[in-house]
Symmetry: C2
Subunit: 725 residues, 2 copies
């Protein structure tokens, strides 16, 4: 062991340090956001402290009384301890001490929790699973650290010997499989034990927390930092789970930094923790996380975990763009870092946070596919609500919360989700909806491929819906580039279906003179045998029109299929457009129109569906999709453009550009070169995409319709001046 | 004729006076909202003036080129003339003069418009109908009035003789049936002719505008003021049409007041015009108008007509509550009154506008039923988004835009519409949707009774859907009262169905200790023969649960019926709860739960429907309803409570009170006394409603469950202390 733990440091010294406390005591006497947050906490805590302390015998599972009570207790101890530091009012310290002593009286004799899952290696004593126990200790050790100086020696000894030490040992030596797991649950355990090590001066515990029980570095917190995020800071269950996973990392890392600054923990792996915080922000639109995998749609940057993350990111970097996010979060945390944020906000130091186009590599090496965000240049204009954004998902499965949605995409515009992902089928904590847990329809619909905007072969989901198989494979990111013409991405996967290769190229194109960027989508499928190919676009909005005849089922509805999610889709109408450009126009509540223009040879059927069949409990939202279907095909390329246009303003009584401006698409490939001609409002544009990933600046010459072009880099948009020759 | 017109007045002197102009010229040199609005208008008008003047030969109908061009021209002339007054830059005056001269060159030889409706009495010359021509003159005479002083005498004579005089004569003597019509179209005509009379010194024209062509007072502007609004200022097509109808009234009234202040036009009929403006505001929730009749749902207080209305109301009354509305409108008009609003807003003089519980009498005498708004006391707390509101509609039909919805209701809470009205089936100005006109489904669904939250007998609409019959009848308002316990209303109608009496009593109850007011609904139907009775509740939200078994149609959907709107409802599920309290719980996107609790004897079937059947063009929104149905009944009383509760916050991961607090309803009548016992969270409350309309303070003694009560006034809520005896 190279380092020693400095037990002579002034306490508290975990997330909040004694130096922080001096500044914080000063700040709560002034006016401002920090003092307001303090006052709010005072009245909340005073209210709770007026009730008798309750430390019930552990008996209930998640959601039950003893479970919830022990959760509330650690939050209350933490908050009261913060108030003790800020006010020096011993009533707060005494309250924490009294509760700790009650826990100390109970803990040594506790058996494993009666509601533990049998045959699992993760039982707790206070809770049915040790994850909650580790969380309890992460908060409680901080509370203890803040009030320890006020304790009578006998009480202190009792709390240490009967509660903190046994629990830390139970969570480490007592549960090696959890403690040494390179998994988010392991992070809570290492954070709890390591922080307790710092406070109790147990250098050995800190070493084990950082490097694993055997101190080899094959597990432990640093290994978790190395493996659970990709080099760009992406966590492979998606942003909804990423913001949750962040909390033990940023908590323990701050404790490490305050106790052992020479470890330079925030510099570890090229500042991966900071990248993880920033990535979580980047993976949001108009304040909400992109709802991939089992995400609850209303979660976003306001979640408390990300409030802590942004607070830390600002205090470490001084990057004033984080203040913009902090302002939108509207919540100040009562820590030293929180004080810096509050003061900077009051000094009006916030600058506009920059959302970017990025391919976030997936997996520990960043090479297991990627999650790709493409945004237009306008995305960062104040008031743009993040402009236009495409989320494209050639990512790995994302473990048990992953959906079978390889190469799916979503589109966001004018503050709203337009091309949508269902997210999770769940009403969080609503007892009447399956106890608030994931609904059966999460598996039967939301996870299935047809619930996504990607290709379904023969009405079966990717990897046949088998998780183990899905976890073993991932798409390959072939190309990602962004320049002044927009952004382009290409990816492929040949393992989602045996004998079938899926390859998708998408671009968010910024065309001079066009009010909105266009999304170009080229989905190429090749198979070793004839298949049925379905490519859905799920949308939020009202169907306005199609330029081809639809046959509607007006007096009777039936489900589109009988398994793999199809059983939940009512077939409302269908149509088979002739050769040419098939158009479907929608209107979203945001007042914009959207037209999906598909270049078809007359072989694509368009199915118009609504979610809701086989849903006896009304668990699903009744959203719409249009599905393009080709039957008996060994090869097919779906070529389409998704075009935002116009403005529907019934309040001001005007409607502008309700019709698509796109009148023609031509498409051809020349080896690695994709060429697409678009006619917009009578003007022709040529889009060239070079999939060979030539670097910017390397010129490729080619001819198109008798004109010579020189392509420099992977993407260009040309104004065609002479295409009538 | 008692009065003479003062032609010596300084010009301009219609809506904007020369005195206004002095203050406005000063204001545009300062900073502030008025100067900003001015600068915006400058850049808009400069842009338009840089293009050549176009005065095309009239040939197109509404929406066509010549129609739209002539509309834009009058707006541009008006705006340029305002800028001439504000800047004294003669380029603006010259532009207006040039355009007026082009009109003067064309107008005398114009035949009736080629696109006029044959066999109608309302053709125009510039436009297919004279309504638009009257609008043109209302704006243009103001523009002329503002630039007249700058004209060469010859030009002036030409404009007067060839354009203004002939048009005013065409719109009065030339079209007696429109000019003398007591109808909104007539108001535009009288305003145009009267204002032209003031400017040209034609006292006779003013007299005719005010009292009709024969000057008898049986028609004309004053008669329109007397008949088109009820004494409380309600316009019987509803608020969506009221804000539109307001504009010619407030425009002409200001011109009258400036030219003939002795007429005291704003005092006319107990200040009915001010009442009409205020009523339009009162008939909104969270900024949007209650969408009764053929209303477009996104219209609200921000509409330009109401901006003018609120501006006038503030300048006349100095009531700073109007500034609150003006602030929300966010638009400053460039008039003297607009300047007063801008200055008062900058002085932070705005106070909270008070929304009230009111029964707005319908019809010219205010006795043809009423439109009733009940709001809770919280409705006016800042940030409450208007709190809770019930709209109840025992109103007259409202002419051709009326829906067959006698005694329907709606409920609003936490900023959102919960118990909903479909509004109009129309995509305003969206060509692809039936040319932007009312869709066929407006008649086949939106107007029908089943599309509303009121009683349908034998699957037919009120008055059998016949407008002429509907216009002849109206409900009777039996009771309306509001006190500290809430508000109560009762109304009945026996003409909607032959042989059937419908009587509904509703209350918005404020119960001490309850977070939200409850809606009590007692709908009593009695018929001379057995009938099928359907009572729908259309809601916006997701069904969470019912406390009775539902049989869902999971693999096939069929329409509920085949006519009168029923053909558009898919039957998704049905259930027949046992005797007792039948509950259906919903969750709205606003995060609140709502439970409809119905006291049933086991004879009510609950049908769960979704709009969308027989809608081949996807014209309808796919909203949900629950319909209570009783078959073969001669008498039935539907007794229910609609209860907002709880809070669903997946972002902060908590869900509170997802279950209804109401565990029992008992109901009895004793003559005119309705007694309802509610058990909420274990506590019993007695609601007493005395339909005899005893005045507040008159005591009625009664006993209930061995306790004595004394009712003072029409509504009381008692805490029951001893109901176990
Ligand atoms: Zn998904
Ligand atoms: Zn209606």
């Amino acid at each position: 062991c190279v380092y020693t733990v400095n037990v002579q440091a002034q306490h508290p010294n975990l997330v909040i340090t004694s130096e922080d406390v001096r500044a914080m005591r000063e700040a709560v006497t002034q006016s401002g956001g920090f003092a307001e947050a303090f006052q709010e906490l005072v009245s909340q805590v005073e209210g709770l402290m007026s009730q008798p302390i309750q430390v019930p015998t552990p008996q209930d599972g998640g959601g039950g009384y003893s479970h919830e009570r022990h959760k509330k207790n650690y939050q209350l101890m933490y908050n009261a301890a913060v108030l003790y530091q800020l006010t020096e009012n011993t009533a707060y310290a005494k309250f924490v001490a009294d509760m700790l002593l009650q826990y100390a009286a109970m803990y040594p004799d506790l058996p494993l929790h009666p509601k533990r899952k049998m045959n699992f290696q993760n039982p707790g004593k206070l809770y049915w699973q040790s994850l909650n126990e580790a969380m309890w200790l992460v908060y409680t050790i901080q509370a203890y650290d803040m009030i320890a100086a006020s304790l009578e020696p006998a009480d202190k000894a009792s709390i240490i010997q009967k509660l903190l030490r046994p629990m830390a040992l139970f969570l480490s030596e007592g549960q090696p499989s959890t403690f040494d797991k390179v998994h988010n649950h392991g992070t809570w355990a290492t954070a709890a034990v390591g922080m307790t090590g710092y406070v109790l001066g147990e250098a050995e515990w800190v070493e084990k927390a950082l490097y694993g029980l055997d101190k080899s570095g094959k597990s432990g917190f640093l290994k978790q930092l190395d493996e659970l995020f990709s080099p760009q800071g992406y966590y492979n269950e998606g942003p909804y789970y990423q913001r949750f996973a962040l909390l033990p990392f940023i908590t323990f890392a701050q404790a490490i930094n305050n106790n052992q600054p020479h470890r330079d923990i925030f510099k570890h792996r090229d500042e991966v923790l900071l990248k993880a915080i920033d990535t979580t922000i980047q993976l949001s639109y108009n304040g909400l996380f992109f709802p991939i995998n089992d995400a609850i749609k209303s979660k976003g940057i306001e979640t408390i975990e990300l409030v802590h993350g942004v607070t830390l990111a600002y205090s470490l970097t001084g990057d004033t763009g984080y203040l913009d996010i902090a302002q939108k979060q509207g919540q100040i945390v009562l820590t030293g870092a929180g004080l810096k944020v509050a003061q900077a906000l009051e000094a009006n130091s916030a600058t506009h946070y920059q959302f970017k186009s990025v391919a976030f590599g997936d997996g520990a090496d960043g090479k297991q596919g990627a999650l790709v965000v493409m945004r237009n240049a306008d995305a960062n204009h104040p008031g743009a609500n993040n402009g236009s954004a495409v989320l494209f998902k050639p990512a790995a499965q994302g473990l048990g919360h992953g959906h079978f949605d390889k190469l799916t995409w979503q589109f966001y515009h004018k503050g709203a989700e337009i091309v949508s992902d269902y997210g999770a089928a769940r009403f969080l904590n609503v007892e009447a909806k399956y106890g608030g847990r994931y609904l059966p329809e999460n598996t039967s619909y939301a996870k299935q491929t047809v619930a996504h905007n990607t290709l379904v072969v023969d009405e079966t989901s990717h990897f046949n819906g088998e998780l183990a198989k899905a976890n073993r494979h991932h798409p390959t990111l072939e190309l990602f580039a962004t320049n002044h013409s927009g952004s382009v991405v290409s990816a492929q996967i040949d393992s989602a279906y045996a004998g079938v290769n899926l390859e998708r190229t998408m671009a968010l194109l910024e065309i001079t003179g066009q009010a909105n960027p266009l999304v170009l989508d080229i989905f190429n499928v090749s198979s070793d045998s004839p298949r049925q190919l379905d490519l859905p676009v799920h949308y939020l909005g009202q169907l306005i029109s199609s330029n081809f005849k639809r046959h509607a089922n007006t007096t009777q509805l039936s489900p589109l299929g009988n398994a793999n999610g199809y059983q939940h889709l009512w077939l409302k109408a269908q149509g088979k457009p002739y050769k040419g450009l098939a158009k479907v126009t929608l209107l979203n509540d945001n007042g914009s129109f959207y037209t999906l223009s598909t270049l078809t040879k007359g072989d694509e059927q368009f199915l118009f569906t609504q979610i809701g069949a086989n849903d006896p409990d009304f668990n699903l939202r009744n959203e719409q999709a249009v599905i393009r279907r080709v039957e008996g095909a060994k090869q097919h390329t779906f070529v389409s453009v998704f075009e935002p246009h116009g403005d529907y303003n019934p309040s001001k009584e005007y409607t502008l550009n309700a019709s698509s401006q796109l009148s023609a698409i031509e498409y051809e490939t020349r080896g690695d070169l994709l060429l697409v001609q678009l006619v917009l409002n009578g003007t022709s544009y040529l889009i060239a995409i070079d999939k060979l990933k030539r670097a910017e600046g390397v010129e490729t010459a080619f001819k198109f319709k008798n004109q010579s072009y020189s392509l420099s880099g992977p993407l260009a948009v040309y104004l065609m001046t002479n295409d009538l020759e």
